[in-house]
Symmetry: D2
Amino acid sequence: MSTTVAQLAEINAALATDPVPTRRVTVPALESLLYQPLPVLDHGFLRVIDYMGGDEAVVQAARVSYGRGTRRVSEDAGLIRYLMRHRHSTPFEMCEIKFHVKLPIFVARQWIRHRTANVNEYSARYSVLDREFYLPKAEQLCAQATDNRQGRDATLAPAEAAWVLDLLRRDAETAYTHYEEMLNRREDGSDIDPQRAGLARELARINLSLNYYTQWYWKIDLHNLLHFLSLRADPHAQYEIRAYADVMLDVVARWVPLVFEAFRDYRLGGAHLSAMGLTVIRRLLAGEAVTQETSGLGGREWRELMAVLGRE
Amino acid sequence: MSTTVAQLAEINAALATDPVPTRRVTVPALESLLYQPLPVLDHGFLRVIDYMGGDEAVVQAARVSYGRGTRRVSEDAGLIRYLMRHRHSTPFEMCEIKFHVKLPIFVARQWIRHRTANVNEYSARYSVLDREFYLPKAEQLCAQATDNRQGRDATLAPAEAAWVLDLLRRDAETAYTHYEEMLNRREDGSDIDPQRAGLARELARINLSLNYYTQWYWKIDLHNLLHFLSLRADPHAQYEIRAYADVMLDVVARWVPLVFEAFRDYRLGGAHLSAMGLTVIRRLLAGEAVTQETSGLGGREWRELMAVLGRE
Amino acid sequence: MSTTVAQLAEINAALATDPVPTRRVTVPALESLLYQPLPVLDHGFLRVIDYMGGDEAVVQAARVSYGRGTRRVSEDAGLIRYLMRHRHSTPFEMCEIKFHVKLPIFVARQWIRHRTANVNEYSARYSVLDREFYLPKAEQLCAQATDNRQGRDATLAPAEAAWVLDLLRRDAETAYTHYEEMLNRREDGSDIDPQRAGLARELARINLSLNYYTQWYWKIDLHNLLHFLSLRADPHAQYEIRAYADVMLDVVARWVPLVFEAFRDYRLGGAHLSAMGLTVIRRLLAGEAVTQETSGLGGREWRELMAVLGRE
Amino acid sequence: MSTTVAQLAEINAALATDPVPTRRVTVPALESLLYQPLPVLDHGFLRVIDYMGGDEAVVQAARVSYGRGTRRVSEDAGLIRYLMRHRHSTPFEMCEIKFHVKLPIFVARQWIRHRTANVNEYSARYSVLDREFYLPKAEQLCAQATDNRQGRDATLAPAEAAWVLDLLRRDAETAYTHYEEMLNRREDGSDIDPQRAGLARELARINLSLNYYTQWYWKIDLHNLLHFLSLRADPHAQYEIRAYADVMLDVVARWVPLVFEAFRDYRLGGAHLSAMGLTVIRRLLAGEAVTQETSGLGGREWRELMAVLGRE
């Protein structure tokens, strides 16, 4: 039985479970999403498995910090926006969420760089991976960007794109076929050749390519999740990890709507300006006609500043 | 209004809240404890505010790691004991718990050394602390231990103990009276002398002693909580922090009974033996009459080994 | 012998040590500062005990990340400024520094909230603290700020200040005298009363106030040190911890001058603007006469924005 | 120019650098190893790039913790052994080491699970990987272990091994050839076909298999390094990561010889016994003929205990 089939059975069982009573902070808008696989890329998904707290847990923790003195702060939204604006991060650490994620290995390699989280990954030392690999959609096949040595530029011409996809598909298929042959194992678990021993799983897997899917449980607090999202839901992030970040943004909007709004207004939609950038703005506001040459900024910083000011 | 009175109102409100339905993992034995202040020391308490997961969340995460291959492992208790025995710590990180704790500052200073947790502490920069300080019970007033330069020895004679308690009480009372005078603030919040400005809170508090109570929200995953408990529920820990650890042990037993049993059998009740200690045991089992002199162990290590073997 | 006297001897010994050859990255400007106590507050100090790396270690790590492709990036300063501007934090983690710090306990309590560091603190369970406590200078004795419920306002009148200092001094002196009496121990280590047992150190210390000095070794990487400094060298930080942060800023300027300049330009001297703040600037630049009322910003956010734009 | 060639030039430059004077703690036995590539597996290496502290830094930090009271503890080795035996981990965090490591991606994926370290990895989004992949030696090609669902059993028969190696080599070569074709890039950096755009690096790399080599700078404190080594220099660790751990053990032995001896005696050579295991030993020492059946232990735990006691 493939992992996929086994998982579908488990997911259906979880979805069929009746609710039970709890006295914990509960967020109905997130409850309705629990356990459901939210599709990402061609074979991936993101499932919310559990959560702790909500907007009110952030407020509650902040009120302990500020003691009874702050009872007068008018309302929760205002307090949450104040915390976000002034980067008081500890109250946001009081909420926690746990995801089950299926993702290509090269995405997992970027993702795991965020160290302040808990992870349990499917182990190909113990178990056999499924024949599932990521193939980009043709419109995602772009040329190397030339301006910043990273990221993607224009989409490849259809013929080149088709040829690339064919290479990717054939190599991944071949790798998996050889993986099974080295394991001496058919998909149903039976031996291919009863006379052979079959290679250890921890070695056979090294033949698989980085677009093969793995999966893990990933648990993180809200502060660190927002930090992850500010980096990975950003246009500079690789498209494939951004696809997961975008789905998580929707989850956050349901889970902690007040925190999400503050995050959007102060972080996602904001910008950090340098001392030199602020000086340029002050000169512009004073009516001076500042150019890159008179600004003291390098070409790239000047362009970034003009973009932020909507003057491109 | 004192923090204490305000908190009682808040606690009663929380306790009166009706349960709501959830589809998350829920532990009825812990639900019945939620929000209740469990008393510790003379004015302290520990309250469970929230939790995520239970025994089954540990199993679920471990099963992802080991993949479908391990479906055959007979049962959850066996898997949890296996994980504990072989120090596979990541599945235990998948559970999380949040406490509200009221504790003396000197205990808070030991506690905070455990870095892998989230904390929001009541801030005496913003708010005024209550007139509440820790006074040990007479039977806890012990002489300095002479054997290990740390910890306590025999209880003080009643007269010396009474004299010590009187000193502690008087100094703490005086410090608080002067704290309020420097703040120019009566307990009801009114000015003592309308002509004076009153010292900033962040400065006035430096006059308070280390036995004054503070409080915080403290959130930690189960793996790190067990590590905390293995150090702080230990006889070498200072009595006052151990009092909190003992209450937390009871909470863990209710929350994750299978994990608790494994922790008790493999960690709390176990012992780590050195290479030299193992050699001594092998020689003893082979019938040799090993003494400290022939063991190659120092005096202290020998006594520790004999204690572990019940040969004191 | 008091800790202070013992430390002076140790410090002098360290300063007298002859240099030895190394092939590691070495920063002469920091070498000349090693081991020297840099005075902070009335009895505190900061000593640089060790360091790893320098500006070139940041560049080296960044060049691994970007591979051979980036060899063409013109020079180190430009690369470091690029990393700082785009918050590529991992190369800054490749440098490490270790301090020996003597600081009041209430400062230590704020400091320890930064969890991503290594700490060894002097333990008053094992040893006896010295009779050294912090007394603010009269000009630091300020009234409670009324605008933001935190921090300090105008300086107290001389008479009130003198009276406050007298209270602080007397209470601290009394607490220490009683501490020694409870320990049954004179400063020279002899018993006060040979008939008494003396209270355990871990208990007697709870009588000391939060302005008593403690000390620790504190080791941190450069990225986390800069984060610490961005919070603690800020005007909103309490004066006493800021005094330490300011000295550390000087250390950083000597140790990694290129990183320091980038930090000053992009972080210390910069500002984070919200989505709404950016909209206001765009409208102002378009010639619109925006007021707080038409800005959509709250009063406090508006004032903060005007301050950043130098329009107060 | 390939990364390998560029690195050789850089390594040779580093090795040719003259020593400079420092007043920091310096370890001559490690200095002589600095920058040299220590070979691991077929194309990998480990280089020590920098270090902070040594045995004496551990002692120094411990002495601050215990204050002047512990001056009497006889000598450094004894103190270090005491710290190791009682798991006082913070003094070991005061030493730091930085490695440059070249390693297969599947090894990097296990390695990165240790979160308490700093990492800068070569990025295949920015740069092109070299044509270097890991091929196991024939004697490392083992069958899947059947007893514990993990790890390796007997070596494959020569014919099966040769066939496996051929598959691994051919698939890796094909993947790389297609990688270059998708990039439209020859090894010398020129275009293969000037009419084609070439696929973005961040996408082309997903065709490479997990045995391709990557590299990173990895910095960690001594406490966490020992924890890493206790897990990865263990017979249960996969052979390929163990090959790196074994080389690091040698580095540790040179760097901090007293710490290394204590680690070997108390951790590597020691064993953790459960409460039930201790009971069995006590019964055996009392002369009772305990068997698995009468021990209360499961079959696997019994075998593990007998192995520890040398009674297999």
